[in-house]
Symmetry: D2
Subunit: 378 residues, 4 copies
């Protein structure tokens, strides 16, 4: 019989809904061995929203105070899906109570605070997971394999970008994403951090960075249709050069006004024996080149992902049958449950998340100082 | 409050599981307006399987006799997910009882029997849906739009193929797919029928066909590892030329031993004003060319599907965020529920299914007579 | 010192100019060992054109009677670049005089006449070359290698098309291409014959064919801007199924009204061990899949052609440095010179050309009889 | 009748041969109006080479002293195709004599010297052309058009790279490319300068740069097969961020050890209204996205270049008929002749070349100082 994993969720918005749906899919697909998610209590600051969402999502109880979640005996994992600015406070409180925590990314809006959470999590020795869903993609698993197995040789370069054009239209009004206090940063935190998560997993630590950032649309209507304009405080675009501890170099960037790019997280990893490329708009494919192939037959291979790659085989029995973007979250949640239930290893712990948040902070700093900045070690 | 749609399912295998999961996802994604699926009774010939699957899938009751499903007052829709050879008998019995039926494809193993089912369904005036899931893809919706809107002009050609290489290995043992009585046909019925469903939806009726078929691996082990060999009776490959009622011509084919092709349902539609192409291995993209574009800027457009295309917007808010192959089934099931609950139109009725089964029968006949054969009208 | 190869050219139009330029490039690139082309005499029925072109192209003499070319002691090779309808008469006369002949394709407008030329050429034992330039492409050389080496295993399928949209516009006036007596056929002879030449080289003989053809634009202005319309007599589109002597099957087609396709000679060769694809719009690439690759790293390889492939290395020292469409003709002419001078083997002799013309005739016949037709052996 | 353009060539190596062949092709393709190239005198330091090449290339005279070329009354244009390190000295001497000069790139190994040449050329008011052949590509012409016409809106980003893997193998011995005195720089000067030439033409001036460089293979055999190793002094890889005067930003790079990349000069230009991409391995294509397209039909257009784009129409009558890498040089030489003969405008004058050489110097400096460096204006 399946062990129960009792979820206390903080936040009842779009991301909460996605988590609930992913718990259910994960349990259905991976089966009993990962533990059965049980929806114990849902918190939202808005009483109406807490109540109706609890019913819709299948939670037994609801509250408007996150302490009720943290203090509940019915909760094994505190699942934090609030707006970004609240992650730190809630996660810290939960950890200090000795609760296991599964938080959406980012852990906090500052490198320091995220490092603090990682430290507490380690001291408290509880399960701690931060939701960088792209780390769990079959494509990422395959790229990690290519690097770790040595098939690509010594890695010389890791180039990447995460480009979208969703904010290209200047009539799109101001929102939390544009305000520094609420978002911490713009394209970097929102999109670029995903790129950093893949980089961190595959390449390890970045030693220093050198960045430049731009706000291309400096003013936006304060609300839809308004002629009153407010200031955009966070970057539309950021580019940085990274120097990796392993000796490699990278050019990375992110834009939210990248015309024509819809979900273009593109990566190219060049090693002395091979090169791999990937683009999230085609998330079921990785291209790879092996220098050792006979030259007459040599070229980039368009590998359609399949059961050989990460958790793909949990979803489909053969390659070429596409997984979705949302399936990444299902894989993540399955690993959350499995790790909690069975003690299996997991990549995206708070230390991992703190490393990314520290990179984000350092990159932002470099964009201001216009100099190479070291990424703090911890 | 949501209307209940009570499901009686016949068959407890892999496809049954997929239907159940799709009902739940459809309800979660499309919401209450499409009706709430309720899992009333599950039938399987194997008692143990019926019992355990009923529990796992969430059915209230189980049985080993499909008549219990058909006769149940708790059942609104009889959902048939048995092996292909049994679809006809069960669907017919259900229709004659006046039950609504949702059957996996094909309706039967013969054109005649499928036509008979279509006729009965019409007489009984009940809901009747056959599960050609690719008809509901956003990609198909977009190609249909391109043709219907006149953007492609008068259609001259519809070329397509559905290629996989899953049966390339001669050591894969005999299975129902290889036996004519159980499968009706090989690559044509299994894969090519999906291509025909897209063709039927977008292009309308085929007038006549001219086919050639091959069995490349004529003998296979009777079971895994056995040295005893049995005959493969169904085609590994079939190719046919189609003459459409609308004046267009097509070269179509299907292979289950198409080395390197994993899920390659490829289509090219050429009209006097434009051309569209698609490949299921990249199911979130359609390429389209418009002759009217200024020549200096003219070329095939790689359209990443998005909320403009079919039901994509039910899943994601912006283009470039990939849907999965499985999401097609979710869309289908959502339309099944919506059509049943609200009387909305649907494409894949039994007449539609019977047209495809009639084409299949005619193509097989032509492969034997080695002549052009007319597709029977009904 | 280089041996001289004295050219007598019949025809002073666009193709003549291309041949002259290719002779010069070939000699410059391949060097003295292939023989030095010397331009002895040029014939054109139009005196003015003969005279001015002779000067422009560098011919020593000119004439308006092709017999002067055939009878000239200064001519080693009679190079025929007239309109198609005259190839047969001139080639026959030259062969009967014992002259070596290099004729543009097709050899004649009928299978029978081309067979007759092949027979005479053999009896006279002279050099005889027909200009199917795509046979000499690096891409074709590589595909031939893949098949001959056994890397693709036993070939099951050869699919291909040659599509252009140059005649899509109905206001383009009637020309020789549209008139049966002058052109023999339409899309098939003009474009499809190139596809057949690649097929013949790689796959060997076709046993029988089954075709359908269409004239989509049945009337065109008799001249540009005219309102007077004339009948188009040759097919805009033809599709045929081919049954190869080696047991493989093919779906092939050609269209001159294929919207969006500019120079789309596409090929797919499926064997039991691998599959290769090619498209002339990207003539410096071949995609190939090897079933024997480890499944985790397996996918179509995008091979950028290079010095390993055919005569590429004569042009560039490394792969990825694109050759042009015109370079194919240079390679052909280099082989013409080399074969004549040094007696090296060549593929595109008159027998090869007659086989293609026989296929063309058989395909046209099948499009009329609407039946499978055998390709005559000779 | 055609005006003669008398060429005095300095250098008899591979590049000299390429120039001669391009002069001849250019004259043959573009015709008399651009002037007829006449090969007056060829200089090479090696007497034997000068003599034999003069004969082979068709020069009337030869010499081992470049002053003979500069001082010759039979020379209109001094064409410099020596090793890079000698360009400056010869070009300067020629300019000071009032000769027109066509020099291969780079003008010199330092920004300062190139600026000096540009200044002298201006003072002397003679024809001065530097051979950045990629500026004349149809693809470049089209990208320039997209930017200049405003079709892409305000340009936000220009990203690019020029990657090859020709020097990936550590057993390739030391050559001039690896020695600072002879080459000036490594991947940057050799490859990256071409990227800079496209950038300069399309984007205008770079204001400041920030670079990082690497030597991945620090020692190589002093000659093929030797076990004695020598130091590689020039970078294998360089990456830089560029800040453009027009407000745009760019991440650019170049590697000569980029595994799998054969001739990958890739560019992406993002503007507020559209985005264009290009890759030299497919030099007959540009991809372009227009934000103004209706969203349902919107996507990157794969434009096969044709007569609408630059000088393509001089080579082929329709799109999809590929030009070669070498054709770029033919276009360049045609413009050299045309500009000299008819006084038509040209892009790649010495000032243009000096700007690129100044960028190269500044980028190298930044890689040493590890700071943003301003590109000197002149």
């Amino acid at each position: 019989m399946s062990k129960k994993v009792r979820i206390g969720m903080v936040g009842a918005g779009w991301m909460g809904r996605a988590h609930v749906s992913s718990y259910m899919s994960a349990y259905s697909i991976y089966g009993e061995k990962i533990g059965e998610p049980v929806f114990s209590i849902l918190m939202d600051v808005n009483e109406e929203s807490a109540k109706s969402s609890a019913e819709k999502f299948g939670f037994k109880k609801w509250t408007t105070d996150y302490n009720d979640v943290i203090n509940s005996d019915d909760v094994d994992i505190v699942d934090i899906v609030t707006p970004n600015a609240f992650h730190y406070e809630i996660a810290k409180a939960a950890l200090l109570k000795g609760k296991s925590v599964y938080s959406e990314k980012p852990l906090s809006l500052s490198g320091k605070q995220s490092q603090e959470l990682a430290k507490i999590a380690k001291e408290k020795n509880v399960f701690n997971y931060v939701g960088f869903n792209m780390v769990m993609m079959p494509a990422t698993a395959y790229m990690k394999h290519l690097v770790e197995s040595g098939k690509l040789g010594q890695i010389m370069r890791f180039d990447g970008r995460y480009d979208q054009d969703m904010l290209l239209d200047p009539s799109i009004p101001l929102a939390w994403r544009h305000i520094k206090k609420q978002a911490g940063s713009g394209a970097l935190g929102d999109l670029g951090s995903h790129l950093l998560s893949i980089s961190q997993y595959i390449m390890g630590d970045i030693e220093s960075v050198n960045a430049i950032s731009k706000i291309y649309i400096p003013k936006r209507p304060i609300k839809a249709g308004s002629t009153k304009m407010g200031n955009v405080e966070t970057e539309d675009y950021i580019a940085f050069t990274a120097s990796y501890k392993n000796g490699a170099t990278g050019q990375l960037s992110s834009s939210r006004v990248a015309t024509g790019r819809k979900n273009y997280l593109g990566v190219e990893i060049q090693g002395t024996l091979g090169t791999a490329t990937f683009n999230l708009e085609r998330l079921n494919e990785v291209n790879v080149y092996f220098h050792k192939d006979k030259s007459i037959d040599r070229g980039f291979r368009n590998v359609l992902l399949g059961p050989d790659h990460g958790d793909y085989g949990m979803f489909q029995p053969a390659s070429g049958i596409e997984l979705s973007y949302n399936d990444q979250k299902v894989i993540e949640v399955a690993h959350v449950l499995d790790a909690f239930t069975n003690g299996t290893d997991y990549v995206c712990n708070f230390k991992f998340g703190a490393k990314i948040d520290t990179c984000v902070a350092t990159i932002l700093k470099s964009a201001e100082t216009k100099q190479w900045e070291k990424v703090e070690e911890f």
